[in-house]
Symmetry: C2
Subunit: 212 residues, 2 copies
């Protein structure tokens, strides 16, 4: 139920994708909730927290999920103890006024700061098109997903993120409204039943430009 | 130059966005490179690693960057010791054949697995439209950005991710080709010169659905 590996370097650098999990391992929903809560310390654009989590841990829910998942991702769906599907919320700006009012009421920011936040960000989102809102929610969802992968390891599990799905089917398949939510990624969590492949990375020199 | 805080819980849960950094603090480019290398242990869709990093740490480069940055993000641009702008690479699939050939040559996967990877993923990307490639690169860039925020803290710095930019101007402003790269986020890094605001999070209960 708690963090059993608090070694940052180990949690991060020894994280590899696992696609075959040990059968019969149950993860309590209270622990799933705790892991999600820890992961949501991730930042998000304008603190909009444009993320939503659907937990799939029953045979029925897995079968419904698989209707929208590409076949090559079946192993990590079939064998995971739990799957957390992360969706992006394109309407998160509609509730963010409440959130910032709370920050203000707690005395953490001034009235002027509150108004400047509302005047800076709110029109941006209210006038944004679906494409912008989708990108923004994808960014938030991916950030929280990254933390969730690390949190899973810190809790003594291994995980696998997957995004190969039918983009039109996946949101209804997890019971959400496709007018509001967009697909980000699934995260399969469990105890590993295979040796992970440490997939190689490009030489970092070819990925960095230093500006004069 | 190294990790000075290896406490996973502290690194993650005490990370807050800092927008005012101590002036006069230099971060060696070798350390910037080391931090990026550590962060690129992040997973990416099909291991395409659709990310690219531009390091901005001179007055000239900052001035050029600011031409494309929204005014409310000026403080963390002006005062950061270094800024790492993360762009998404929409053409990463064009080089991924080489990468997987290396995994195969190292004996880590079979010829059949190699061919199945090529046959599964390659057509998906080669036939994908710009919108799909942009979303995919945004997802990868956000994942590596999340790790970079944590790595910065582990190295004893604080950071701030920002995405408020002119989407048309930002890629040329950091010297990249807008036909290939898409904006993801800037990350300002330095020593904090302000008390961070611990911005509140929604109650996790309202963010989770458990499927039957």
């Amino acid at each position: 139920m708690a963090i059993v590996n608090n070694d940052f370097t180990d949690v991060m650098t020894n994280r590899h994708s696992i696609r075959q999990f040990e059968p019969g391992v149950k993860i309590d929903r209270a622990e799933v909730k705790a892991m999600i809560k820890e992961a949501t310390t991730a930042p998000s654009a304008c603190n909009l927290q444009s993320w939503h989590f659907v937990v799939i841990d029953t045979p029925k829910a897995k079968a419904e999920l698989k209707e929208a998942v590409m076949k090559f991702n079946y192993p990590q769906v079939d064998t995971a103890s739990t799957i957390i599907y992360i969706a992006g919320d394109t309407q998160s700006h509609k509730v963010y006024r409440d959130l910032w009012n709370k920050v203000y009421e707690a005395g953490d920011i001034s009235k002027e700061k509150l108004e400047s936040i509302f005047n800076t960000f709110l029109p941006l989102y209210e006038h944004a098109d679906r494409n912008f809102l989708t990108l923004d929610a994808t960014l938030d969802g991916a950030m929280v997903g990254m933390q969730l992968l690390l949190v899973a390891r810190a809790h003594g599990y291994e995980a696998n993120p997957w995004s190969g799905v039918d983009f039109k089917k996946i949101i209804p398949a997890v019971g959400l409204d496709p007018a509001r939510y967009v697909p980000v990624m699934g995260i399969s969590i469990g105890k590993p039943a295979e040796k992970p492949i440490a997939s190689p990375r490009y030489d970092v020199d070819q990925l960095i430009d230093f500006r004069d």
